[in-house]
């Protein structure tokens, strides 16, 4: 298989307006990734699948990553001249900058026909709150279907063009996205959206002499 640089160069030649960057992986695995811009991602994905030299016909794994807003403190050594005329002092100057948060979808692509891979592509959202849309690659690889639904469910990335974007693991009324780093667990796991009051009222009307929710022996004992 050609190297990622070659793939990037070919993609840039084929899709002139696209922003395609290599994201290096510093770890020992050295599986570097290609980051694609959302406007061209769908076309590029189709190209990767259909290109005869690559034939990445199998999308193995799709996953989301949450990168919350991060405060980065950079220290810089600055030499400050002594106003009294002594030797200049070296002072550490701290600057803070805030790296904006974002969500990422990572796709691991392999070729079953040519038995090579992986080529790993990443799609990024603008932020974590209102620009959370990336193009869905389900029309290209059907195997993204459930996995993109899971990411939508657990991370809150909206996949534009997904044929059936619903929650996969959590129930439909659930509000939050549990895999986000800032997710707060609810105090009461057992809470269910059951209309208790209404059910109790009906039970009381159905059998007025019995108090619902109190065990039968307790009621018998309570009676004189």
């Amino acid at each position: 298989m050609e190297s990622l640089e070659q793939i990037r160069d070919r993609l840039l030649a084929r899709f002139p307006g696209a922003t395609i960057t290599l994201v290096p992986n510093p770890g020992p695995a050295a599986e570097h990734t290609i980051s694609l811009d959302n406007a061209h991602a769908f076309e590029i994905a189709r190209f990767l699948r259909d290109d005869p030299a690559l034939q990445l016909d199998y999308c193995s794994n799709v996953t989301g990553i949450d990168w919350p807003e991060k405060e980065i403190v950079e220290t810089k050594k600055v030499s400050v001249a002594d106003p009294a005329g002594g030797p200049a002092k070296v002072v550490e100057e701290k600057t803070k900058r805030i790296e904006p948060g974002r969500l990422e979808a990572v796709y691991h692509l392999y070729s079953m026909a040519l038995r090579h891979g992986p080529v790993i592509i990443r799609l990024r959202t603008g932020n974590r709150s209102d620009q959370v849309t990336v193009p869905s690659l389900t029309p290209v690889w059907r195997s993204c279907d459930f996995q993109e639904r899971e990411i939508f469910d657990l991370f809150g990335i909206v996949f534009e063009g997904h044929p059936n974007l619903r929650r996969l693991l959590m129930w439909g009324d659930f509000k939050d996205h549990p895999m986000r780093k800032d997710y707060v667990e609810p105090d009461d796991y057992e809470w269910e959206p059951t209309p208790h009051a209404e059910v109790l009222e009906r039970a009381q009307a159905h059998y007025p002499s019995v108090t619902p929710g109190v065990s039968a022996p307790a009621q018998v004992e309570a009676k004189p």
Partner: protein, 394 residues
């Protein structure tokens, strides 16, 4: 305009069982019936639900519904250290904890650049192949349960499974939740007696398989109910990310033991069985044939098992902090491609931990496979895909 004419006349009542795929007609102007199969349905192999829409008994729509066993395994793993998630991986595919352990260890070793000694590699192959035998034998038993044979084939399989699981217990201390692999090797070195017992079991296993096959493979009910049922085309299967025996039953030669040759699989001589039709019968036969290949692998492994350490001496158990980076490790679990994606930021906990569950992704084409078949066939098709809900819902 008249309603769409049926492309094929419905088979007359009592006709000999021919091709099982029927076209839906509205000859009786019947209403469609929506049935929620599951989550507590005995044939769904766990808490899995299928919302099926039926025309008579024929499925016209099927939507799988997940999440009844969801406990956010990935979040739990991101909040603990790398090693502490090893016992949790047992609970993913609780029939095959040995190979699930291995998949996780493989991914972490790739992430940390950790070497594994030879003896541990062989032990891993031995245990993974024993797990494959357990899984496939049980799956065939469950498949026959779904076909309506009340438990006899399953109990034959369980008899053999019990022997292998006893071996797992003798080795790791637990029958199913083995927690055996470590990053850079294995936890316990098996004794010579254990190896002799395991080798004897493997040598006797083909006799069980012969008996099993004599009883099942030519069975008329199996032939009538599975051949031509739930066909899967190779191109669709590849596009939908189907892996494992389900994919190979459709005729696609893609076995990670050959493709990636992870561990020491390149040293072993075995074949990859392939199906022709991609139907339920082929999926059944894949399991039988793979068990025979596993026996071959096991015999070679027992013959060639080297002596030596089972843990890399440089492996770090305490204070394990892989360098920042990411890795995707995958292997051929009995159900398909089981992958772990790990992203490290240099802390003791993984920043991102993702399980690529073969059981979930193999269900992508369940609807296509079941359309036009009866409810009873859908049960068998689901059984032949081989899912474990611990892995589907995570």
């Amino acid at each position: 305009m008249s309603p769409a004419a049926p492309t094929q006349a419905p088979a007359p009542f009592g006709a000999p069982s021919g091709p099982t795929v029927r076209t839906v007609t509205d000859a009786f102007h019947g209403d469609l019936l929506e049935v929620s199969m599951g989550p507590q349905h005995p044939s769904t192999h766990g808490v899995f639900r299928m919302d099926v829409t039926l025309d008579g008994e024929v499925i016209v729509k099927l939507k799988p519904v997940f999440g009844y066993l969801h406990r956010n395994h990935e979040k739990i793993a991101e909040n603990t250290s790398y090693l502490a998630s090893m016992p949790y991986t047992d609970r993913l595919d609780y029939l095959c904890s040995m190979s699930t352990n291995w998949a996780y260890a493989l991914a972490v070793e790739k992430l940390a650049g950790q070497a594994v000694p030879d003896r541990a590699q062989y032990l891993r192959i031995i245990l993974a192949e024993l797990t494959r035998i357990v899984n496939h034998a049980c799956l065939v038993g469950f498949l026959f349960n779904d076909l309506g044979t009340s438990f006899t084939p399953l109990l034959y399989a369980f008899r053999e499974r019990e022997k292998i699981i006893d071996l797992f217990e003798a080795l790791s201390g637990s029958r199913m939740m083995c927690n055996y692999q470590r990053f850079g090797g294995c936890r316990i070195d098996p004794s010579p007696e254990w190896l002799a017992a395991a080798s004897r079991l493997v040598d006797n296993f083909p006799r069980f398989l012969d008996e099993y096959e004599r009883m099942l493979t030519g069975n008329e009910i199996l032939l009538a109910r599975t051949q031509g049922v739930g066909r899967l085309k190779a191109a669709n299967a590849i596009n939908a990310g189907i892996t494992g025996p389900v994919l190979r039953a459709a005729g696609v030669n893609y076995d990670l033991r050959k493709v990636d040759a992870y561990g020491f699989y390149s040293r072993f001589d075995f074949r990859v069985p392939l199906g022709e039709h991609g139907d339920t019968y082929d999926r059944y036969m894949m399991r039988i044939l793979e068990m025979r290949e596993s026996v071959k692998i096991l015999q070679q492994a027992f013959r060639d098992l080297p002596t030596g350490p089972i843990m890399d001496p440089k492996a770090k158990i305490r204070g394990f902090r892989p360098k920042a980076g990411e890795a995707y490790g995958r292997l051929e679990s009995p159900k398909g491609e089981l992958g772990f994606y790990l992203l490290s930021d240099g802390t003791p906990n993984p920043y991102r931990y993702r399980v690529r569950p073969p059981s979930l992704i193999n269900l992508t084409l369940l609807e296509e496979m079941c359309l036009g078949h009866t409810v009873a066939d859908a049960v068998v098709i689901l059984g032949s895909i081989d899912i474990v809900l611990g892995e589907v819902d995570r």
